[in-house]
Amino acid sequence: MATPARTPAAAGNILEVRNLTKRFAGLVAVNDVTFDLRRGEILGLIGPNGAGKTTLVGMINGTIEPTSGDIVFDGHSVLGVPAYRRAHMGIGRTFQVMKPFPGLTVLENAAVGARFGAAGGIKDMRRAQDRARECLEFVGLGRRIDQRADALGGPDRKRLELAKALSMKPTLLLLDEVMAGLNHVEIEEVIEDIRKVRDQGISILVIEHVMKAITSLSDRVFVLHHGEKILEGPTEEVLRDPRVVEAYLGKKRTKS
């Protein structure tokens, strides 16, 4: 690693995002965002559509290059580090627009993560497959491991997306709307799954529109609106804040 470890004060944080900005021609998608993710915590990220949440996740895991700012993961700046190396370092993510390997079986899908993920993955094929199978059973796909990924229905694809990220054995997990399109029962299951994942010491950034998930999972929440962080704090407090209500529902009409 080229960059030396940062200040000891950072020890409690697995991720530190500093003044992160992303400009696409003419549009500022993420503007000067700063936040910390503590070790072992679940941090909620909410904001209306187009707020820049997915762009932010893309910059953290290396699929999008930031315009300016810094990202410190585990004490090292990961700016300029390619996505695959960040995966080796322990950053795993799911995609809102899912990215399965359509022609491969469910097991093979997860096996890619097991064989290439954190620390370069598990080299032994049998053990990698065992791990992949375990992750699939964990998310409830144990019975579908021999099906082709493109034969899965919507909810199962979401589960696969989660299993693929878990199979990488990440220390930081970025979940981009894994519950969108799921019904209430399925959402409860996924919430329970995420809680179990956290209990293993994995730090999680969860983007979600499903408020029940945010309230029951997040230790803290921060709000992105038009690319800027407008609020950060304990979940209950943030969700009651008029600015959050406004960002989501619009301004309350007042007589004037």
């Binding site: 895991n61 290396g62 699929t63 390619p82 996505a83 695959y84 190396r85 995966a87 080796h88 795993g92 993510r93 995609f95 990215k99 399965p100 390997f101 359509p102 022609g103 491969l104 093979e108 096996a111 890619v112 993560g113 097991a114 064989r115 290439f116 993920g117 954190a118 370069g120 993955g121 598990i122 080299k123 094929m125 049998r126 053990r127 065992d130 791990r131 199978r133 375990e134 992750c135 059973e137 964990f138 693929k164 878990l166 990488m168 054995k169 179990k196 994942v197 209990d199 293993q200």
Partner: protein, 345 residues
């Protein structure tokens, strides 16, 4: 409360003895053994062919074996990695010229020429790959195609390569040697692809084919893997070109940098089943045989008929023979109709 399954999630080694239904494994390995034995018998029969076949058959064999090697070489970059290369004919030409230049200009033995051609093709693939493997889909195909076209013009102006006149190699009248060399190369290429299909490296390539961004995010060094696949593809293609040069004893730029040959290898690989171990070999064998029979029996409409065979194949079995064998078993009619339907033709 953390669930039990939650805790074990991070200690896969503890779970090693579990699952893997023994019946499945045994059935799978039995099937594998059968295929392996059949392949072994076929290879032995092919190796012995010069001793029971006539010289025409041996010459046809050389041509089929070289084509099968080319299809297999293309299979690595096109079938497994998902990059439809039109630049493989360039590797073929470089391999051929490596041998020709070494033997004619430097009076070196054949095998040194082969090494020269191999190095030329592989180094070229690495350099080319760095530039064009950033492109995806059609753009990659077009970029490599453009290169394949200008290659003829470039080599025509290289004096050491005999300019546009070409080079005449020393004559070695031993078809048996060329036949066995070509067979050996094909076996080597196929063993390599078999290894790919079962290795971590191969899984990386397949994941790139299926979804490149998804692969990178899960830890696959996509740039490195693509380049290595391209180089591996170039290695077998270049070696095939080298054997061809010495066998045919005369090469010129138009002849060995032939884009038509590239199209042929793609058709054979796709016909047989891209991304499978034996598909391209079977495809090359079947298509070469059909085209040979047609050329001798119905000369005038042979090429048209050949075209029709390919069109029908693409419409009804776009994933190749390997897929037909795997999935058409139960209801063949439905399989073919489904193919037409899903691929919207």
């Amino acid at each position: 409360m953390p669930g039990k399954e939650g805790l074990t999630l991070f200690f896969p080694e503890k779970m090693a003895e579990r699952v893997l239904t023994p019946v499945e494994t045994r059935a799978g390995s039995a099937k594998r053994t059968i295929v392996f034995v059949i392949v072994l018998i076929v290879v032995a029969a092919l190796a012995a062919l010069p001793w029971y076949g006539n010289s025409v058959l041996v010459q046809f064999g050389i041509s089929v074996l070289l084509l099968a090697t080319l299809a297999q070489g293309w299979n690595i970059i096109g079938g497994y990695t998902g990059y439809a290369s039109f630049g493989n004919s360039v590797f073929y030409g470089l391999g051929a010229y490596g041998v020709a230049i070494a033997m004619v200009q430097f009076k070196l033995p054949f095998w040194i020429g082969m090494i020269a051609g191999l190095v030329l093709a592989v180094v070229f693939a690495a350099a080319l790959g760095a530039a064009v493997l950033r492109l995806r889909g059609h753009y990659f195909a077009i970029a490599t195609l453009a290169l394949a076209f200008i290659m003829t013009a470039i080599v025509s102006n290289v004096e050491i390569a005999g300019s546009n006149i070409g080079l005449v190699l020393p004559l070695l009248k031993s078809d048996v040697l060329f036949y066995e060399l070509a067979l050996g190369l094909l076996v080597l290429a196929t063993m390599t692809v078999w290894w790919l299909a079962n290795s971590r490296f191969g899984l990386g390539l397949i994941s790139i084919r299926e979804n490149e961004e998804g692969a990178a995010v899960m830890g696959v060094n996509t740039t490195l893997y693509k380049t290595l696949a391209f180089m591996l593809s170039a290695a077998f293609t270049g070696l095939a070109g080298g054997i061809y040069a010495y066998y045919i004893t005369f090469i010129d730029p138009v002849g060995v940098f032939d884009v038509g040959l590239n199209v042929k290898m793609i058709i054979m690989a796709v016909f047989g089943g891209p991304g499978t171990v034996l598909g391209p070999v079977v495809g090359a064998l079947i298509l070469s045989t059909i085209s040979e029979v047609l050329a001798t029996k119905v000369t005038s409409i042979a090429s048209m008929f050949f075209g029709i065979v390919i069109v029908i194949a693409v419409v009804f079995m776009p994933r190749g023979i390997a897929d037909v064998l795997r999935r058409a078993g139960r209801s063949p009619l439905r399989y073919f109709v489904d193919n037409v339907r899903t691929h919207r033709l």
